[in-house]
Symmetry: C2
Subunit: 376 residues, 2 copies
């Protein structure tokens, strides 16, 4: 009841926590920089996108879908789920489709977390964990990182009676840090089984030490695994991701899911993309070579970085307050190279650079060298 | 706090209201019916889609967008907003983009409604109003309809101290009913200004008695107008809609909005679609002719219907419990014609049929005649 507001001429305030949300900072679009600087040849290494685009099979699927542009998507996502069942050896009743994995993370919070609850995540972890927590008015518990990565033992300790969800990222964005199967199972064995553990594997296709987390879905009914088509599959423009969990959890989340949350083009492209393992292989090969190129380039410039298992690298560009990540980001922009400042992640000394093609990486390293010399 | 659950080996239950949500019933996809019946020539008049598809300008925009399939969408939707500003004479700060207008309706509930609040909507109104209310654990107040349409005076009376949002649809789905400018302004003058009024105009492009609701945004800062590209613009597959409201309301909703809720293809297609008034004109002309065709056909079959101002017609097919809407729906399916049973909307005697092309409408009327004769 809010009878004290009845006489007011203003609309009632928003729900708890919402007025304090600072919206997610997206990577600067190429078009916007072109507009601002009048530059034509822009390199964008800011959003961990696949420099190869997507599989040609996915492109063709998009073209084919144009015949039915006026029709609503299949709200059940039958064909994509059928393909996920085949590729990942899960049951159809374990799959939730999302408008990107961002949608999955939010659906989890909206289904299981209310304003009296807490949610646990790591320092330097993906920003959407905190945003999804705030949007349902809950309280986030940020656990200090260890060497920029998740301190799983401390995270397990941080779980309270009112904790409903723990978000883990493996590898994590924006640090590229990772954890092992042994540490993961130790964590799962410690956390109370009433707490939902969300394992965000957005970058798992790049992860050389990948362990088959899917096999733990049966052992740990409180586990939900989140995947995306936006990174290695190269479908960021289309918005599609998915969650795998128990049938019970999946059923509840799907009651909250919008009936047509994933568009037809995304459904068709993702289905086709799962059928092209060659493209994934090319993607990994290019990423591996690019990672070596960037590491060698940073070493040559005398810079340190956080070892990464994803498709980006966070580089320490600062030795004093005069030259921090945001300044380097801005200086690089003027040279037509877009990277990501990550001061918002509590890492003011770092920039995060996505791994591009050989030429894009080279252009970045040259621009970085120029910027650093100018500020020495 | 929920310490009583600590010892449980089960995951904690979902948030209030969620376990009771019955997911939205979507129109049966054509592919699914083909699979089930082995039929090839299917007519789908179940989801109020545009039988003309979309503007060729929008189709071309989708093709052009393929060049950047690996890139994230512009999270600000700059170009589409710029076009909306031009076409609808609003400020950019008044626009919220949604993953379909379903997303808009949910964003409103998530921003302004909590589990202690109530939300007012009409009997026989669009199902998502109740679903969005339940998903945030709030209580819906369903106001009895008058002649299947909104009883605006009764709805204003139904507003309580704890009411945060009223959902209005003009025209309404699935009834096709509408209200006038005079009745709308009388309603707005009665409802306390602390209550947000959502005016859902998903079908407004078909509405012959359209009054310019946008001009009331200034007069009533508690008004939000919701529009979609899924109906007259023919972009249902792509998922895009928008809201217009005060800058203050828009700012709050955008804190909850997912940063990339609208995909790149939808952004590009919607921008192009707004530039093709000829296509809208063709759409209206076809719909007008189809409405006359369906009304004449129903009259010839001795059936009554609810006068509609949208792109569908709800027809009374029952005179007794033996022949209700769901039975007629199932019988039509066997003949390859998909319509929508609306028992879930408290209208068990009715079917809702979307207006198709001349040939599709004819096929529907012939199948309906056959079905009715068989059950007489």
């Amino acid at each position: 009841m809010s009878s004290e507001n009845t006489a007011s001429s203003q609309i009632q305030p928003a729900n708890q926590g919402i007025a304090n949300i600072a919206p997610y900072q997206t990577g600067k679009p190429i078009d916007e920089l072109k507009r601002e600087l009048g530059l034509d040849n822009i390199v964008k290494l800011a959003s961990n996108e696949n420099p190869l685009g997507c599989s040609p099979l996915a492109t063709q699927a998009v073209r084919d879908e144009l015949a039915d542009v006026g029709r609503y998507p299949d709200g059940s996502g039958f064909k994509l789920k059928e393909k996920i069942v085949e590729v990942f050896d899960v049951e159809m009743s374990q799959i939730t489709l999302g408008n990107g994995s961002n949608d999955i993370l939010e659906l989890v919070a909206r289904t299981f977390v209310s304003s009296e609850d807490t949610v646990v995540y790591s320092q330097h972890a993906f920003a959407v964990y905190a945003l999804a927590t705030q949007a349902v008015g809950a309280t986030g518990i940020e656990v200090p990182a260890k060497d920029f990565g998740h301190d799983l033992a401390a995270m397990a300790q941080a779980v309270r009676d009112d904790t409903r969800v723990v978000f883990l990222a493996n590898p994590n964005n924006p640090t590229g840090t990772w954890f092992s199967e042994t540490d993961f199972t130790a964590f799962m064995n410690t956390v109370p089984s009433r707490v939902l553990v969300v394992l965000d594997e957005a970058y798992v296709e790049y992860f050389p030490e990948y362990f088959n987390s899917l096999k733990f879905l049966e052992k740990y009914p409180n586990l939900l695994i989140s995947r995306t088509f936006s990174k290695a599959y190269g479908l960021a423009s289309l918005r599609v991701g998915f969650a795998l969990a128990s049938s019970e959890i999946t059923d509840l989340i799907n009651r909250v899911r919008q009936p047509f949350n994933v568009n037809s083009f995304a459904l068709a492209a993702a289905t086709a993309a799962l059928g092209d393992q060659d493209f994934l292989h090319q993607t990994r090969t290019l990423n591996h070579a690019g990672m070596s190129q960037l590491e060698a380039g940073c070493a040559a410039l005398g810079l340190s970085w956080i070892p990464s298992r994803a498709n980006f690298l966070s580089i320490c560009v600062s030795t004093d307050v005069e030259r921090q990540g945001t300044k380097v980001f801005n200086d690089l922009l003027k040279l037509g190279v877009i990277v990501r400042p990550i001061a918002g992640y509590g890492m003011p000394d770092y920039i995060r650079v996505s791994i591009g093609t050989f030429t894009e990486n080279k252009r970045f390293l040259e621009a970085l060298s120029q910027v650093l010399q100018a500020t020495e």
